[in-house]
């Protein structure tokens, strides 16, 4: 049976207004709400699609965070088989290398054919979790994938390049792939099924061990985008606004 591991992370939900902590160098976590990283959600969907297509055991691994159990049970309702929560992850974000080292130890035990995760996360500077993981596991890595089919000992994956170019590439398994998007949009799963999973599925806790949080990058200042005075508001009634607009467009040579 094909073994697929998906790394799924929770990230700050941008529906809330972000606030800067008093330190001036980080987000105020008290006001943050967390949500699944969109790209990781696509990685989960891709894994479930592969399972439905040709059979697979899907394991989801997530660092602990507020709401991570609900997220894991939702993946179980979609079809994931094993749920693992990394415990002992502090509020301060560990470096990708350190997280990859911890994940690699667990993933080695599973001995998967395929490791999927989102190609990036919006709270991540460097986006190197998946490549670091591939290096530690001694597997090939390809990022920006938007579709996978599995063959004998190999996978065919589609990678998007800028300018509308799509590459079809063959990758020897086992491999780590960074997912840009799944073949189909992530599915909706009825809450009743999620609630059922809360009663029947179990989450295995794994201690993350010691995680390094110092990436060597020093943040001097974190700030919200500053309001710039670049927009010109056209004032007056409809006729006036329309004639001013036409004058501007003529000035720009557009009319």
């Amino acid at each position: 049976m094909t073994e697929i591991v998906v790394i799924a992370r929770l990230v700050p939900d941008l529906v809330e207004e972000l606030e800067i902590a008093t330190s001036g160098t980080a987000l105020d976590l008290a006001w943050l709400r967390l949500i699944i990283n969109e790209f990781d959600n696509h990685a989960i969907e891709q894994a479930i699609i592969l399972k439905e297509r040709s059979g697979a055991t899907v394991t989801i691994i997530s660092p602990e965070a507020e709401g991570v159990e609900d997220m894991l049970f939702t993946t179980a309702a979609k079809g994931a088989d094993k749920l693992i929560k990394l415990t002992g992850v502090g509020e301060e974000k560990p470096t990708n290398l350190s997280m990859a080292q911890t994940l690699a130890e667990i993933i080695k035990e599973i001995n998967p054919d395929l490791v999927l995760t989102g190609v990036q996360a919006h709270d991540d500077f460097t986006g190197d979790l998946a490549p670091q993981l591939a290096d530690l596991l001694d597997m090939p890595y390809v990022g920006y994938i938007s579709g996978i089919s599995l063959g004998d000992g190999k996978a065919t994956a589609y990678k998007e390049y800028p300018g509308g170019i799509l590459a079809e590439m063959e990758i020897a398994l086992p491999a780590v792939l960074g997912i840009q998007s799944s073949e189909e949009p992530p599915r909706y799963v009825a809450i009743s099924k999620v609630r059922q999973m809360m009663n029947t599925a179990s989450i295995e806790d794994r201690d993350a061990g010691v995680l390094e949080t110092d990436s060597g990058v020093v943040i001097d200042r974190m700030y919200l985008p500053e309001v710039a005075d670049r927009a010109e508001m056209l004032e007056g009634d409809e006729e006036e606004v329309a004639s001013k607009l036409i004058a501007i467009l003529q000035d720009l040579g557009l009319l």
């Binding site: 939900d13 529906v15 909706y188 009825a190 809450i191 609630r195």
Partner: protein
């Protein structure tokens, strides 16, 4: 065939039928005459692969599994027009159409537009995908403060359940502000739940997401049971319907009234406040979940008739035959899907009816409706001057400052 004593699970059609018979009055389905009144009166019946009558016929024939492959059940606006006309009193909307949507949803057959509204309801407690912390942000526009009951830590007379669209939608919010202004003017002791309020879940239930509805109901019940109040008042017919008819089935029993019933009781105090108000013909649109489902036809009309200068007129479809605005049964989140399937909008049909009776104002009493009908009026020739106003906006306009 059962092998080695292992009972094979029933095919979908048989399971579905069995589940319908368990719903109150669900057994009436057995008595269906196949008169097709339901399919005929359905405002979207023409665009459905399986209008209610056919669904029953195919179920009887044992071949309803086909239905799961069709997405036409998402055309149902849950407006109760079919239930209203059924000569055998079959609870068509509740037993048949809503259950069919539940099955489609469990089978993973959910239009993408609807999917995001359901995900938002789960994540943020409202289908619009807005921050739950900003649920009371509309009240910042007022020049007085509305107590948030949890913070005020005192009993109130009226717990005002504001609702999703009334809290967040830029057009519906104006109605909310008008109602707050009126309550304040009348010296009513009221409070809101603010960020602790969750979606009432009624439209999500009618869109087939029963589990989500139950989750939201539990969250609201938990918050409300910690508050001391005399009764719940809401401007939202779906919230009203949820509290009146659905929450009690889950064991959450709170006294509730729609704001139109509440204001009729206060007409003696409101009437002296009215000023000279000009003249206008007002056609009143009965919201499905105020009118047909809960039989409140008179209170909104009494309020309109009490306002000086307003003449109440009726459109072709009125009271029990009222036409859905198109927002029901998940319709608020299926506009694109339904346009694609039917190339028609119920809101435009309704606006044409208002134009046909020369209405100056189309009056409504549901937060879904002002934006829907205002959008429709922009697209209909002859509706250029039609105003869409909630009944409470008409009252507050006539009172002035």
């Amino acid at each position: 065939m059962a092998v080695n004593g292992i009972q094979q699970s029933l095919p979908f059609t048989a399971q579905f039928k069995e589940s319908l018979l368990k719903i109150p009055e669900g057994e009436n389905i057995q008595a269906c005459l196949q008169c097709a009144c339901c399919s005929g009166v359905c405002p979207f019946g023409f665009a459905m692969d399986f209008p209610p009558g056919r669904m029953i016929a195919w179920m009887r024939a044992g071949i309803l599994d086909e239905m799961l492959k069709s997405d036409s059940v998402w055309m149902c606006v849950s407006c109760y027009a079919c239930t209203e006309v059924c000569p055998k009193d079959i609870p068509i909307t509740l037993a048949l159409m809503t259950r069919a949507k539940e099955e489609a949803l469990l089978a993973g057959n959910v239009p993408a537009e609807l999917q995001s509204a359901l995900e938002f309801s789960q994540q943020y407690g409202n289908p619009l995908g807005e921050s739950s912390r900003k649920r009371a942000a509309w009240s910042e526009e007022l020049d007085f403060e509305i107590p948030i009951i949890r913070k005020a830590k005192r009993p109130v007379d009226i717990l005002w359940f504001v609702g999703d669209y009334a809290s967040y939608h830029p057009r519906s919010k104006n109605v909310t502000i008008a109602f707050a202004t009126l309550l304040n003017k009348l010296g009513i002791d009221f409070g809101i739940l603010g960020p602790d309020e969750f979606s009432d879940g009624d439209s999500q239930r009618l869109a087939g997401e029963r589990g989500l509805f139950e989750m939201l109901a539990e969250k609201n019940a938990k918050v409300i049971s910690r508050c001391e109040f005399t009764e719940i008042i809401t401007t939202d017919p779906h919230a009203y319907n949820a509290f009146k008819n659905e929450y009690p089935q889950l064991g959450f029993d709170f006294p509730v009234r729609h704001y139109t019933e509440f204001l009729v009781e206060h007409l003696d105090e409101i009437t002296p406040l009215f000023k000279e108000n000009g003249k206008a013909k007002v056609a009143y649109h009965d919201p499905c979940y105020l009118g047909r489902v809960n039989k409140i036809y008179d209170a909104p009309r009494q309020l309109i008739e009490a306002i000086p200068g307003l003449e109440l007129i009726e459109m072709a479809h009125n009271k029990s035959t009222s036409l859905c605005c198109g927002g029901g049964g998940g319709g608020m989140w299926l506009d694109g899907f339904r346009w694609e399937k039917s190339e028609s909008r119920l809101s435009e049909w309704r606006v044409k009816e208002a134009v046909a009776v020369n209405a100056d104002i189309l009056a409504v009493a549901c937060p879904y409706e002002p934006p829907r009908f205002e959008d429709a009026a922009k697209a209909i020739t002859g509706a250029e001057k039609l105003q869409v106003k909630d009944v409470v906006e008409l009252i507050v306009d006539a009172i002035g400052n």
